[in-house]
């Protein structure tokens, strides 16, 4: 026993919290309760485990969430967090191959060829800037390398056990097996029958300790197809990407989670392995189990499978602050094959900021069939076909946005004026008691709805824990109830300032018009 060793994290801390929030001071005020209890365990490696027992149905939501996303990337490797998410399904030293040794040899040989081919592609790209092309000799060399690589890839298939992780989960009754990458986190989850939970521990502990990024180059092509599907073939997708870049400026939120095509074309296996080692650390992760489990059994399995992970105490690189200073009003117009629309955006605050609650309620006041946008822009003034707002607070920034689809024949400028007017109204007049209460009621009912199923509870508490504490959910609920009409007016004035707005006009290209 090494007495000099630092005290280990508590082996098993149990925190029960059953939240009952009573709203007061308004009549008709509902009282809400989110009835679930969360138990926490922190492993020596720093990995947090959250457990919620719910025994209605013999199923369990299992999740493993990492604090890594597009915000951690840089130009050159945008989209890498998401590509790694794909790679995490390709297997490990044990899963996905019948011969790990040969498989490793193939991977190394294929990567070597890929880098050489990449060299030619980069050279070609340089030449293209000057209106030139690769020499015939270089083209031949590249083709030959591509042929060699294709042959190795075909040969390697003999030692690959295709998609074994998928097979194991699915044949054991896994549903909703998937993963998702966002600006700030990457999430891996599945719902399993309650007698199969140990499978999650086996697979997850294996793939996060011994992943093998085999089939890297074919999967990179899949991700490129995903970008084409979500962004390039989707109406208005590329226009939206440009507007995000304008809005965020130098901030790492400026590039899409799926990444820029140029980066997807050139990122390497080495980039991926380095990025994985940097961010996929137990201290950077939260595991969550919601459903028909016994917390002692989950704790036992956690200690067995994940207890020996090292806490290397290395902090991942910090996210560059890049706070946007107000440069004045900015606008752009996109002409594309998409419905006409006007979007007005403002920079607001990050999650857990005190002003999140009033900003959320402003969007509630504007939204809905009885909301201001629908009543005034659609019904009264007949300017719009639809209109809505949202407030989104991320770990490193926030957006308030209003989007309106004009009615036929209505100018974009007129729509923008109407939006400005609505926002001015919020600053000029105190919102009425009833209207504010209505917004609170809706927001609080949404929260109840958000925490009804195993999956939504699991995702909710794990996300909250990644960037603070799962208890923040309850604090957030409480803060909604406390917002006053003054808060609404104050935050509208502070953040929804027309002198620093970002405006996007999307104009549908008419038939015959050149795009």
């Amino acid at each position: 026993m090494n007495l000099a060793r630092a005290k280990p994290h508590s082996a098993f801390a149990t925190t029960f919290l059953c939240a009952t929030v009573l709203l007061c001071s308004f009549s008709d005020a509902p009282s809400f309760a989110i009835p679930f209890q969360v138990q926490e365990e922190t492993l020596p490696s720093g990995l947090k485990v959250l457990i919620v027992e719910r025994h209605d149905s013999p199923t369990v939501y299992c999740g493993l969430f990492f604090r890594v996303g597009s915000v951690n990337e840089r130009p050159g490797i945008t989209g890498l967090s998401h590509l790694i998410e794909h790679m995490m399904f390709k297997g490990t030293k044990t899963l996905g191959t019948s011969d790990p040794f040969r498989d490793a040899e193939y991977n190394a040989a294929i990567d070597k060829l890929a880098l050489q081919i990449r060299g030619f592609s980069l050279k070609e790209s340089e030449l293209q800037w000057r209106g030139r092309a690769l020499s015939e000799g270089d083209e031949k060399k590249r083709s030959s390398l591509q042929g060699e690589m294709a042959a190795l890839v075909a040969e390697q298939k003999k030692v690959i056990v295709k998609d074994e992780i998928w097979k194991l989960y699915l044949e054991n009754g896994g549903t909703g097996l998937n993963a998702s990458t966002g600006n700030d986190s990457t999430q891996y989850f599945v719902q399993l029958p309650s007698n199969k939970v140990e499978l999650f521990f086996w697979i997850e502990s294996d793939r996060f300790q011994h992943p093998v990024f085999r089939e890297f180059y074919s999967e990179r092509e899949v991700v490129k197809e995903e970008r084409r599907l979500r962004m390039e073939s989707a109406p208005g997708g590329l226009a939206e990407e440009s507007f995000d870049t304008l809005f965020w400026g130098a901030h790492p939120y400026q590039w899409p989670v799926v990444g820029r095509m140029g980066d997807l074309d050139t990122m390497t296996l080495d980039d991926a392995e380095h990025y994985f080692r940097t961010y996929y650390r137990p201290s950077n992760a939260v595991a969550v189990f919601v459903g028909d489990v016994k917390s002692e059994e989950i704790a036992r399995l956690a200690r067995l499978y994940l207890g020996k992970l090292k806490n290397d105490s290395i902090e991942p690189p910090p996210v560059p602050a890049h706070r946007t200073t107000s440069p004045g009003e900015r606008r752009m117009t996109s002409k594309t094959d998409a419905p006409n629309s006007v979007e007005v955006r403002f920079h607001t605050v990050a999650r857990l900021h005190d002003d999140c609650a009033p900003l959320t309620l402003i969007s509630s006041i504007l939204n809905g069939m009885s909301g201001r946008l629908h009543n005034r822009l659609v019904k009264e003034k007949k300017l719009a076909v639809s209109a809505s707002a949202y407030s989104w607070n991320l770990p490193y920034g926030g957006i308030f946005s209003v989007t309106v689809e004009p009615a036929d024949g209505v100018d974009h400028e007129k729509i923008e004026d109407a939006i400005d007017e609505e926002l001015e109204d919020l600053k000029r007049e105190l919102v009425g008691e009833r209207e504010l209460q209505k917004a609170k009621n809706r927001r609080l009912a949404d929260i109840i709805d958000d925490y009804r199923s195993n999956g939504s509870i699991g995702a909710g508490i794990a996300s909250a824990e990644l960037f603070g504490s799962w208890k923040d959910i309850f604090a957030r609920q409480e803060s909604i109830g406390k917002v006053t009409a003054d808060d609404i007016r104050r935050t509208a004035a502070k953040y929804l300032d027309p002198s620093s707005k970002y405006v996007h006009y999307v104009k549908r290209t008419e038939k015959g018009e050149r795009r």
Partner: protein, 480 residues
């Protein structure tokens, strides 16, 4: 020593997931008879109590949909059903109604489909009486406010512009047209048909089809069963129903012409592909074998052949899958769908067609059938985690005439499927020579191919290039 040995926990990590010992899980699905009730007026209901959250949800499934639209008034069902919600009631103006529903933080939604429509209520349990009352009012005494009708028409006509924005929508629409031909499934509203609809049409449609005898109700939430029954019976009390039973949808008579159908949309990065033909209906004796076969071919995500080959191996697509959906009232379709960058569309299509041919000629492997059956059977409990979803499933089963023991017998039907069964149904029902293949995307790119694989348009049968219809009239331009 012996004492120490017996204290050592046998906690070792198995060498492979297949070596993990799992406890047995015995699971029996909920019994529809335990939840079913015949209300005083004859309407069927399925009611489940669920006190895990202070909310109540109701779904009313109505035998009414766009199949009942008169041809010259296509869009009538959708308009009637939508305006029931947005057009106010005889007691409350649209504004007052919307305000009250929003203030209660409830939601009442109505939606019309092809063969059925739904009205749903979400309300906090403390407001169940009022929420229920408003929902019933909307269904029973809608006002069809003229201003709201006008707004709806403007919105719907304006949205028609978007019909040709997405390649997947264009491809799906063309595929259904080629398969089902002139049939309500392929009837689209037009500017003309929408403008032709007047308030009286909505009133008649509502009177004819929206009534208790034409509904099945599903209720779940923080409400006692007896109270739910009482509230439902109170709402239906005195609500007259016309005597004539609503007809079900007619079967299509079209005989599809196999071949390749291309629709040009330039400037997009991908082509959207649908490959398939007519399938089976829910009463077909081989529904279970078809389900297992489809799971192996393309319905089982990464355990499926086309996903493994075309996405995982070749990297040609992101989203891919197949379906062999048994139709409710007439045969559904077999379909394989994916999108891929223009130049690899044809090669990817050839791979998909090849997999279908192999399925129709060779027995599947022991491993594949075991995985497919196990996936379906082991995931069975997950269908019933939500009481609300379960009640809706029971209501739907009764609506389409499935037997009461449908879920009870489900796993056994799957278990009994053999490799021989799969080959038999594949030979009988999977016909690559009859494939209708639709690709919507940049034809020039698609035609060029990837420069590596020799795949020509002719490989897929007769090729037709179809012009995109005018979104307001859904007519194809005469000259190209």
């Amino acid at each position: 020593m012996a004492i120490l040995a017996s204290c050592v926990a046998v906690d070792a990590i198995p060498s492979h997931p297949n070596a993990i010992h799992f406890n047995e899980l015995t699971y029996n699905p909920p019994n529809p008879e335990d939840f079913r009730v015949v209300l005083a007026n004859g309407t069927i209901g399925y009611i489940a109590e669920d006190h895990t959250a202070p909310v109540v949800e109701i779904s009313l499934l109505i035998r009414c949909g766009s199949y009942l639209d008169p041809a010259e008034k296509a869009g009538l069902a959708a308009m009637t059903v939508e305006l029931m919600r947005s057009g106010g009631t005889t007691r409350m103006t649209p504004d007052r109604l919307n305000e009250r529903i929003d203030y209660l933080a409830a939601s009442i939604d109505t939606d019309a489909g092809l063969t059925s429509s739904t009205a749903t209520l979400f309300v906090l349990s403390k407001d169940i009486d009022e929420g229920f009352g408003l929902c019933a009012e909307i269904l029973k005494t809608p006002a069809f406010n003229e201003e709201e009708i006008k707004l709806y028409k403007e919105r719907v006509i304006s949205a028609m512009k978007e019909r040709n924005d997405r390649i997947s929508a264009i491809a799906t629409r063309e595929f259904n047209l080629q398969i089902y031909g002139d049939h309500p499934q392929n009837r689209y509203s037009t500017r003309e048909s929408i403008n032709a609809i007047v308030r009286d049409d909505l009133v008649s449609f509502h009177k004819k089809y929206i009534h208790p005898k034409n509904m099945i109700v599903a209720v779940s939430g923080d409400i006692a069963r007896e109270k739910a029954i009482k509230l439902l019976e109170k709402s239906f009390d005195g609500w007259e129903s016309p005597q004539e039973r609503v007809a079900t949808i007619t079967a299509p008579t079209n005989i599809p012409a196999p071949g390749l159908y291309l629709i040009d949309k330039s400037g997009v990065a991908q082509g959207s592909v649908v490959i398939g033909h007519t399938g089976i209906d829910m009463r077909h004796p081989d529904v279970a074998a078809v389900a297992v076969m489809n799971s192996i071919l393309g319905g089982g995500s990464f355990t499926s052949r086309i996903t493994k080959k075309i996405r995982s191996d070749e990297g040609l697509t992101y989203s891919i899958g197949s379906s062999f959906s048994p139709g409710e009232w007439y045969p559904g379709t077999f379909e394989m769908r994916f999108s891929s960058k223009g130049k690899s569309c044809l090669y990817a299509t050839s791979l998909a067609v090849r997999e279908a041919r192999i399925m129709a000629s060779d027995k599947v492997s022991d491993e594949e059938i075991a995985t497919a059956k196990s996936a379906i059977i082991e995931s069975f409990p997950r269908r019933f985690t939500s009481r609300y979803e379960t009640m809706k499933s029971f209501a739907y089963n009764e609506f389409v005439g499935r037997p009461m023991d449908y879920y009870r017998a489900y796993r056994d039907r799957i278990r009994n499927v053999t490799k021989d069964d799969i080959l038999r149904v594949a030979k009988n029902l999977l016909k690559p020579d009859k494939f209708v293949i639709v690709i919507a995307g940049p034809i020039d790119e698609i035609r060029k191919g990837d420069g590596v694989h020799t795949v020509a348009l002719d490989d897929f049968g007769a090729t037709k290039i179809l012009p995109i219809p005018d979104p307001y009239t859904m007519q194809r331009p005469k000259n190209q």
